[in-house]
Symmetry: C2
Subunit: 245 residues, 2 copies
């Protein structure tokens, strides 16, 4: 892991861009974090395109800092300037065509797009955890927040360092991941935008139902795909404070 | 309205039992409430049987006090020692028999039980508001919290003094109330116990979907019928603070 930029923000937050091999990422640590008082870590997932997502991720990170957590994110395989695979690009084009046609999207297309992404991304998040947890100012427990939902599901199953997760109940989760969801046992806080026309609400509810966790909470709100209300963020923050602080 | 008992609790909360005509009720006011600083009011609904529900209602009231609200509840028509109607008792017996038989409960039985209850209870809650808001230490806005869900729906439609409601998404809501739900426009915070086998989950989700409110939030949790987790109470309290404080 190599830090490429470093910036101390107004409120003492340290914002550092890094690369881990070919993977770009950003780490935010609160002013309070030190070797003698290391901060728990929240990994912030996103749909890919780190530069485009950066303002929203920075906002989420500031919220984590306020609660004493460090926060980090990395670019997805095939996202931003990372090498694209022809198969993934074809699958994405097929999915977009199906969505434009207004019809349901074949499971086969979802599997072709998402399963390889999960297979590639999960080890990258794990390598990122290895590197971040080696820093003296960061320590476990670790939380995962955000999308891609399928990545969060797989991480919750295979990565014991992750103790709690906030997931967006989105569409395009391969059926195979529903089976993995039954193996999830960590506390979950699941967000659903109820009136998001681009989202399959029933699939989201089915996924929530599938999770094996004894503590799981679904928060459904209005406001469309990107209109998660401020108070929903407050509840998600309270969830992490309960489980990671 | 006649106060029949008065007790000052450890933390300064004033607990008073009252009767409004034949209807018994309880009012809790925080130590901070006075004529110069009147408290907003939360009406606490319940399924009937005030004595039996009293410990849980007192707990909910203490939470309201902590946030600076007054809280009040009244007995339901036919609940506790209030006169029972033969028709309501028959409808209740028919419903219990249908539930014991494990089958779905006919809409006709639900209508026969719940619609007359709503018709009688809603004016009683309104009369209670009239009396409580005439006290110098209480002022609007008013919130409604709890069940019977159908009573909360009707109150939210017909009573403009109610500015926000926390509803339990329960079963046995008459179809006619789904139509009324579309007319609800106040902010709603809806609680659903996801694994409550006695509750029709799909009906609860349909009811949430029906509400016309621009701000509505569904919080689904595990823990069975009476196992609403502590953190769900925290979120509901934050909702009232946002809308009534």
């Amino acid at each position: 892991m190599h830090f490429t930029t470093e910036q101390r923000l107004d409120d003492g937050v340290l914002e550092r861009e890094f690369t881990l091999g070919e993977i770009p990422g950003v780490l935010w640590t609160p002013a309070s974090a030190s070797a003698s008082a290391p901060a728990p870590l929240i990994l912030m997932g996103h749909p890919g395109g780190l530069d485009r997502m950066r303002p929203r991720l920075a906002g989420r990170a500031r919220r984590c800092m306020a609660d004493g957590f460090a926060a980090a994110t990395i670019e997805l395989p095939g996202g931003g300037d990372r090498p694209r695979s022809a198969a993934a690009e074809q699958a994405r084009a097929d999915l977009q065509a199906a969505v434009r046609a207004g019809g349901p999207v074949d499971d086969e297309i979802v599997d072709r797009l998402v399963l390889p992404l999960v297979d590639k991304a999960v080890p990258e998040w794990q390598a990122t955890m290895d590197a971040l947890l080696a820093l003296p100012e960061i320590d476990g427990p670790v939380g995962f927040s955000g999308g891609v939902t399928a990545i969060g599901v797989r991480l919750a199953v295979v990565e014991p360092r992750i103790k709690a997760a906030v997931l967006f109940a989105g569409s395009f989760v391969p059926r195979a991941l529903f089976e993995e969801a039954r193996q999830v046992t960590i506390p979950l806080h699941v967000l659903l935008q109820w009136d998001d026309e681009g989202n399959d609400r029933q699939a989201a509810l089915d996924l929530f139902d599938a999770f094996g966790s004894k503590e799981k909470t679904l928060h459904a709100n209005m406001g469309g795909h990107t209109g998660v209300p401020q108070f929903a963020g407050d509840s998600a923050a309270a969830f992490f404070i309960r489980h990671l602080s």
